[in-house]
Symmetry: C2
Subunit: 209 residues, 2 copies
């Protein structure tokens, strides 16, 4: 992350006082909460990394739908037929990479994912979505499934609105945070800290940026 | 990647003609070249995912420094003491996640990394950097090494300019592309294709978005 962006003199915001682990966690939560609640916030679109079926890394952008401070839980939605669900059922460990270019804050968040499909948690998440958003899950097209390449591309017809079909394809993935590696860039010297949880207790280590 | 951005009517740019694998690869190269040569292009800052020492995924932002179309090679720079070098020496597989929000194009690029340290390749990359950029590698601070958390944070003094020390810490990582999963978002229907190489030959599969 050397010289990624032009140097500015904005103050260190999140990692100002590492002697206070709970306070530092509280400050980092501001960005996670903003990402989960503000569609235009840069923390809205983290990159989710998983381990693929060959043991190598895979990654894709997801939308942060919810953040629960007390439960240390990040929630995103996906099609239950997608490869990332298969990946996470095989190995639940995942890493969210968040970056806010204005505040020059990067967070690498290691978490453990639980797939919710056709259960009460999924139902509550599904119900909270606007109808046009729920409807996108009705598609008969399976994400990642090979289609004919030779035939000319045809825009798929809009699927009929069938909430039962949509809900059948819908998964809510709830990820509990285990570790955060936070990096705050500053022209006079970057700061970096690792927060780790042991049960409810958070510990903090300052590390070289 | 459902409804990440407001709907617009921009045309499909990269995946317009999947019956032509070489042409499709040529079109995708435009974004990789732009990222490597234009500091403000969104492909400048991909997220690099690797497999960490516990077998789980790790990720961080890197700067795309060079792209070689013929060699299918992506190059970034790092401190040879950083964890991603250790990760890539253990398992050379990595995934770059690129996203251009204006063109609504996501590329997931699986590659195999080679670490260049204190060799001719590294020397050429190092020599091409501006002096202030080379100087950042002189730092005695080891990335990721634990520092005292209790002592007040002190901005580290600027290291003296010692090009030999800097070059000793400098690594250029050259990654050869093996597969690209490209997704182009469009209000009338997204397109997604997977390009895979067998030697110099590229094959293409259209897959469900």
């Amino acid at each position: 992350m050397r010289d990624i962006l032009p140097v500015t003199d904005q103050p260190i915001l999140a990692l100002a006082d590492l002697a206070d682990p709970v306070g530092t966690w509280g400050r980092l939560c501001r960005w996670l909460t903003a990402g989960a609640t503000t569609p235009t916030h840069p923390f809205r679109w983290p990159v989710l990394s998983t381990v693929a079926d060959d043991g190598g890394p895979d990654a894709r952008t997801v939308v942060l739908r919810r953040f629960d401070h007390a439960a240390r839980q990040l929630v995103f939605h996906t099609d239950v037929r997608s490869a990332k669900v298969t990946d996470l059922r095989r190995d639940a460990r995942c890493t969210f990479l968040f970056y806010d270019a204005d505040d020059r804050l990067q967070m690498r968040v290691r978490a453990v994912a639980a797939i919710h499909h056709a259960d009460d948690f999924a139902r509550a998440e599904f119900a909270a979505l606007p109808p046009h958003n729920r409807a996108t899950y009705a598609s008969v097209v399976v994400p990642g499934e090979v289609e004919s390449t030779d035939a000319p591309f045809v825009y798929p017809p809009k699927p009929p609105v069938d909430e039962a079909v949509s809900f059948g394809h819908f998964a809510a993935v709830a990820c509990v945070i285990e570790r955060i590696d936070a990096l705050e860039l500053h022209p006079s010297g970057h700061r970096r800290a690792v927060l780790e949880w042991n049960g409810a207790e958070v510990r903090i280590k300052r590390v070289g940026p």
